[in-house]
Symmetry: C2
Subunit: 368 residues, 2 copies
């Protein structure tokens, strides 16, 4: 059943909310206490459009936790299992935040935006409160705040052309996961070549509401012949691309190693972070469960809670995200399964929500 | 414009979600990463029903942050400005959580549920992460977890009759803001005489999904002649009752003293909590702004973000919550205003969203 979203000031608006409403958003989700569009013309139509054109996403919900001060680097490193000791001030680092048990609390991009200042561009949990607690508890000389920064993402194959029109040729030279500052209307915007799709694009960290709106309108206006549209992170596209979603595919009960994030877990003896000894032990002994992709022979699925997966009468894991994929012509799922049940060599029958489904288990991301 | 809510596992379901859907929830909000019904038959009809009958609310979103261990009392006291040193194990304490700047991070009920165990029954922020950060940072001997507890509220004037039918005469002897354990279907439920309405009632801390569903069905079944219905916290009823909502009426930018929560701020020299010296200073010097009630001569209002309030050309504050009140036959608002503009003796014209509105400023809660 479809229900409406009840708006209130607690579900914060963004500087772009009026535009989003005017363009006719169809559904919202809530992320970091803020409204995030979830569809405009329907998830399938939005998906088809995104893969061919360019969309402007209001992803203000990607809040920045700013850690600033003499101990900023210490605190930031303490919270993440990724080695940030050689972090450069023009590169974005995907860096899981973990607790003292090695469990994932968030999976942000982290950027060193000044010599004593870090931005943790968070997924959907209050990292601000974790950072505050640690800073207070350890008596660190830092200020932890949430600045008024509201990112816009420009995503899709035509995003490069559109961004060039606004910011000039220079922006095309920026490499993936790099960031720099670019001028528009007399204001320097921090822009990264990043975004939560596999279609290419940029994220603009809007730190000035008024200039941001001006930029939003310019992006729409200058992209008319590129078939630009307001858009949003797309369920189908992100699952096809194997982009993990914190709160869906992983949460506080999982470690980065169980989620296949080994590349972002440092065992460098010089690096000190919370939960490290536990992750070292898990790394040595091997994980007991892991995230896998599932290609499910079915033509429709909708997930609103983790669904147990059975092989015969044995529970082997749980399905956490899924959708029908037009590109793969089957349903794709992301599941946490017992490591002993991991099997990439043959298809099998799995029981999901009481239905026997012919399933092919694959590594993530999915490959066609 | 009305938009739908896009469901996903990240917006967690509750043990009662299937019932809620089956009974026809009209709109949802999201609270603590979880679905919270916001209306069933419309906010006005739900309100009228609540004031005369009894409703069963799925308030699973009131998550418990469990602090357990030898240092549990220390950590819990450190986080709140309320004096918990004499806390009894059968009383609920409304106790603002503050940071080292004296700013409010949450406004939970806190219960000492065992000699070494506290439940912090939170509003909409991840107190779990704050508590974890502090515990790790200060190296405290505690375990901080979110147990699988999903509260049901039974609210409305007929809630007493209904609860008596299920739990016996004994439950009526419990005083306001007291809690105890009561038996149903062989399971002992922690039940408090509390709830986020002024219509009277109880909150049942369901720690067993299966027994909880059985209880949910029993409450509906045994309340048929009492005109029982599924319900939810009601915008109109809570504003009329002057119940503050964290994220709406107050947030991380406010102190408890600015929000009129003086009764819950301890200046006892023996009590140690974060931000105390700042709150002491503010108490001594007096606050510069404060929450007030506004009776607005208008017949319709809807708030989705803070609305600036002007007196002439001077900005004097912001309106944070508001609704039309059938009981007061005007709109009621909760606003943060400059202390110099606080005026309970005469009506005045205030400019709200560009409209001049005849306004009466009052203390909270509203009195008819």
């Amino acid at each position: 059943m479809n229900s409406f979203i009840a708006k209130s000031a607690r579900l914060r608006s963004t500087p772009f909310s009026e535009r989003i409403d005017a363009y006719g958003v169809q559904s919202y989700t809530v992320y970091n206490h803020m409204l995030l569009p979830a569809s405009f013309k329907g998830v399938v139509e939005d998906y088809e459009h995104l893969k061919k054109n360019v969309q402007i996403w209001d992803v203000s919900v990607e809040r920045q936790v700013q850690v600033k001060g003499p101990d900023a680097s210490n605190l930031t490193q303490l919270m993440t299992c990724r080695d940030l000791s050689k972090a450069k001030d023009h590169i974005c680092y995907y860096a899981p935040i973990v607790d003292d048990k090695g469990k994932i609390l968030n999976d942000p991009l982290i950027m060193k935006v000044a010599s004593d200042t870090w931005w943790i561009s968070i997924s959907d949990t209050d990292v601000l409160l974790y950072a505050k607690g640690l800073a207070i508890g350890k008596n660190l000389d830092v200020e932890v705040t949430e600045p008024n920064v509201n990112p816009l993402a420009v995503q899709g194959p035509k995003s490069f052309d559109l961004m060039k029109r606004i910011f000039g040729e220079e922006i095309l030279k920026m490499k993936f996961f790099h960031f720099n500052r670019f001028l528009f209307a007399g204001h320097k915007f921090l822009i990264a070549r990043s975004g939560w799709s596999k279609q290419g694009g940029f994220e603009i960290y809007v730190d000035n509401d008024e200039k941001g709106l001006e930029l939003y309108d310019a992006l729409i206006q200058k992209g008319q012949d590129l078939n630009v549209r307001p858009g949003c992170p797309n369920l189908i596209e992100r699952i096809e691309g194997g982009l993990l979603s914190y709160g869906n595919d992983m949460d506080i009960h999982d470690t980065p190693l169980e989620c296949g994030l080994d590349a972002f877990v440092s065992f460098n003896p010089e690096i000190k972070y919370l939960g490290k000894t536990i992750l070292e032990k898990q790394h040595k002994e091997g994980v007991k469960r892991c995230l896998v992709g599932l290609k499910l022979k079915m033509d429709k699925i909708s997930i609103t809670r983790f669904i147990p997966i059975y092989s015969g009468s044995k529970k082997i894991g749980e399905l956490r995200s899924a959708c029908f994929s037009p590109a793969f012509q089957c349903c794709l799922g992301i599941a946490m399964v017992d490591i002993s049940e991991q099997n990439f060599s043959s298809t099998c029958n799995l029981s999901i929500d009481g239905r026997e489904i012919m399933t092919e288990m694959t590594k993530l991301p999915f490959i066609k």
